[in-house]
Amino acid sequence: MSLSNEEIERYGRQMILPNIGRPGQLAIKQASVLVVGTGGLGAPVAMYLACAGIGTLGLVDHDTVAVSNIHRQVIHTEDSVGIAKTTSARQALERANSHVRYVEHNLLLDASNALDTLRPYDIIVDCTDNVPTRYLLNDACVMLGKPLVSGSALRFDGQLTVYHYHGGPCYRCLFPTPPPPETVTNCDDGGVLGPVTGMLGSLQALEVLKMVALGESAFAGRMLLADGLAGAFRTVKLRGRQKTCAVCGDEPTIKELVDYVQFCGARPDDKTKPVKM
């Protein structure tokens, strides 16, 4: 594989970084990344990865664009209200960079389709909005041996880590038991500011590029805790992989995907509900 003159011109400002260079750009071109969720986090992740020249970019979403999405999901437009989010996102990305191969997965991920959907990709990016899908992605990534770049946001806060990478823990190592459904708030119910998802999604895209081009991440076994209201950032050390983990441990008890809705007692369907003001 090589780079055309047009690609060298297009990506020149990232290729002149000493730790990217031509080898880094070629690695980016050869990489395939799956962005799960094309909402508040998925919008900047997809835009920055596409613009950086990722070879193949998969987009997973089952939802259609609603006008209440656009305040934070800046990849979608007024014209795309009502159409599939994957299609809306793909159209925006193609306008920005037609060199990338885009793959739409317009579906609700579940135990029946997750392994086949994730298998062709090198890195999975969790931009979802619900607990069952987060456990599903975690288990599927462990079973397939892929790293999971996980971001989340709510109100003014955000969290970021990379699971199952370079000996670090998986999501279940940290959270063997799902949270009680009544403690879980999604962005539709709790609210969120667009720039908070923008900051977290940008950081997820940055970790993907570092993993692809440099073979490393600052967030394997570490978690960023961002408080956008206070302007406070904290990076903390996490436990390592747990030998007793049900999915990535030495004697895993979960060897195939399970029913995550039942496991979490919550539904993965984050459909927009009317706002109570």
Binding site: T128, D129, S152, L154, D157, L174, P178, N186, M223, K237
Partner: protein, 98 residues
């Protein structure tokens, strides 16, 4: 008495009357008392509502990450960690939104 700095984020602060950080003198013995002693003391003296959203059995409920001096409490022995003066202990509700 052991003086601790307690912090709450990711929504945990809502259970503690909106407090994001508080320095408290806890009537427990430094070097002897552990996190196992601190949690029920916090529940009884600081928590403002719904104790079941903070504790589950003798530990925190699932979905809360506890940090002791910027490290996952699992690295420090979790419930058995012996409290020292000026420890900073953070309780974070993990987020799932996007």
């Amino acid at each position: 008495m052991v003086s601790l700095e307690l912090r709450f984020s990711g929504g945990m602060e809502l259970l503690f009357g909106g407090t994001k950080a508080v320095t408290v003198d806890v009537p427990l013995k430094a070097g002897a008392a552990t996190m196992r002693d601190l949690l029920p003391w916090m529940r009884d003296h600081l928590l403002k509502e719904r104790p079941e959203l903070f504790m589950d059995g003798d530990s925190v409920r699932p979905g809360i990450l506890v940090l002791i001096n910027d490290a996952d409490w699992e690295l420090e022995g979790d419930l058995e960690y012996a409290l020292k003066a000026s420890d900073e202990i953070v309780f974070i509700s993990t987020l799932h939104g996007g």
